[in-house]
Structure formats: structure tokens, C-alpha cells
Point group: C2
Chain length 214, copies 2
Amino acid sequence: MEFYYHPISPPSQAVWMVLNTLGVNYGAKEVQLMKGEQRSKEFLKINPMGKVPALKDGEFTLGESRAIAMYLCTAYEPKFKEGKLYPRDAQEMARVNMLLNLDASFYNKIYDYASIGRMLQRQPLEQENLAPAKEALSNLESLMTEYPYFTGDHPTIADIFILSTVKLLDLTDFNGWSEYPKLMKWKKLMETLPQYEKSMGKPVRETAELLKNL
Amino acid sequence: MEFYYHPISPPSQAVWMVLNTLGVNYGAKEVQLMKGEQRSKEFLKINPMGKVPALKDGEFTLGESRAIAMYLCTAYEPKFKEGKLYPRDAQEMARVNMLLNLDASFYNKIYDYASIGRMLQRQPLEQENLAPAKEALSNLESLMTEYPYFTGDHPTIADIFILSTVKLLDLTDFNGWSEYPKLMKWKKLMETLPQYEKSMGKPVRETAELLKNL
């Protein structure tokens, strides 16, 4: 199984953390985004949309980070774990799917503010996009329940994707976390998970370092 | 089971078509969007995001159209059909999930042009949003294969959602379909499905009629 990714890409980090949590064997191939490798004929065979992350599992190829994470759990979690990352019960699974769908729109809102593209070009962040980003954080805060994680007492792929989304703000000087106490507590808890540092902590820190030194 | 919807909402139409195709029993409750019922305390208990469609199945509540469709198939398709609307094979399911994820972003791009909100306010369409909408159509055209439907020889929930997305253009004077011959052929085929007229054909025609007579 080959995992095509770039360490700067939050959806790549999320899939990476899923792969490492599942403990499946895979080869990691960094796609040279700066050189346009994502638009090469070879890569478009793997993901016709020309985006990372992507997956090649035997002859099967797949794009779209959330679909990749769901696939990895559906195909491999039973062999390794108890189906906790992606529950099999229809209603529990539905709640994870709902959060993944919401996360996709929260990601767009937060990225519009914390735009890696703009930062790479040394452009200032667009301040008018801060309010929609904060609205996404408020929505996430309101979706937290009495449980430590979004859907219960253990993390699922929804928690992993939401973490990669809110960590975009770690690349900026955003300091409004105290307005979202449940989310802040959850974020700190997520950052103690065994596969976090390798898959997300380190790449986000290195991205922040890169952006600071452009 | 209660289905909360509004006939003008494409994601509501898509879930409606899934419900009708599955043949499950449900009560349909039209949410009075114009009166702000989606923000009522009662409705927020069903979907805290305050959006249609939403579902209440016993004590279980769920928002987000695509998650609802996946849930309906996971929970009810085995009892009624052969799992064709939402395949159970991990790789076939992954391809449907990938298309659903892509459709969510295509929907945003096409809606930015064919904005029901703007049309309800009798504002002209934003012509600079036409190019991104056409890019979404090109992407969809490129995702079609030699099969009549997006993933094979029968329609899945991905086909149903993509249909509700591209039908946004039926509300406008868009006449560029001939640039997307595979997609045009697929759209015509989808419009012959037994549950199409009731769930999508009629509500889209009535929406177009409403917008024309504002």
C-alpha cells in the first residue's frame, strides 16, 4: 500500500495519523507539490483530481482524505483493532460521518483565514475571514458533549480530522482559544495520543518554522 | 422516522430520493425556512446546525444530508434491497464516499453561481462564479467512466447527490451542457429513475417556477 502525501497538508497529516494508529504497513511517498508533481500524468492516474493525499492499495486507487480514512478503517481496522476509530454500529458511524462532513466545511472556513497558500506567498492574513473561522470554532465547541472526544470516550477518525483542521490556527498568531474551553481541553487531550507527534505535531511545527523563515 | 426537509433545498431532494428509493416508511415534515423554523429550539434539538435536511429515527437524530443518506442505507437497505445504493464492499463503498466528498465541494462551486439565495432576492447571478461552476462540471465529466453511472451499472447515492447538485443549473439559463456529453447523457438517464420525478424533478420545476414569478 502506497500513501501519497505532503507533510504541509493538513488532510495528509490526518490520513497519516489514521494509518499510524491502525498500524498497517504502508510506503509513504512525498509528492513534490512545489514542482507540480501532483499534476503529472503518473500521479493523475492515482488521483485524477491532482491532490494529496491519495492512496494506492494494490490496483485500487483513491483520493479525498476523508474517503481514504473511511476506507482504511473499513478494510483494515477489523484485522488490527476493535473498530473504534470508525464505529460499525449504524448510528455511531452516522455521527462520525456527520462530523466528517461538517469538518470539511469548517476546514474551508478556517483555511480561508489561516491560508497556507497566502502565508507561503508572504501575504498578510485576510482579517475579514477571521469571523467565519471563529464561527466554525463556535460550532465545534457546541458539538462537544459531556464526553472527552466528539462522539464518546475514545477518539475516532472525526476527532483526527477536526484536530488537523483546528491546528491550522497554530500556524498563525491566533490567541482566542479561551473562548472555546471544551475544544481547547479536547485539543490538548488529542495532542497526547501516541501517533500524534509523528503524524501531525512535528509536521505542523515544521510548517510553522518554514513560514516564519520565508 | 421523521424526515425534516424543504422542497427548495437540493440536499433535501437528494435525501428524499434516497428515502423513496429505499422504500422505507417515514413522515415528511416541511421546515418553514422563511419563518426561521430551522432556528427554533425544537428543531435545533434535531439538528444543532439549524439546517435541513435532518432526520429523527426513534431517539436518534442526525444532520448533514450525505451522512443521512449513508445512515439510511447502512441501517435500512439490507432489509429492502441488495445494498446497491450504497455498496458494502470496502473498495466500491470508498469510491462512492470519494464522490460524495467531491460532490460537496462541487455543490459549493455550482451554488456560488446558481445561488438560490440570490435568485430569491432577485439579484443577478455573479458571472465571475460561472467559470468555477464549469470547472466542477468538467471535473464531473472527467470522473465518468465507460459505465452509465458514476461507479458502475447501477446508480448509487453518489449519483443521486451529484444529480441534485447539477440540477441547480436548471434554475438558471445555463445552456452549456453540450460541453459535457457524458454528464449530459448520465443526467438524462438519472431523470428516468422511478423516484426521480416525485423527489427531485417536481420540486426543482416548482422552484424554477417560483423564481421566475417573484
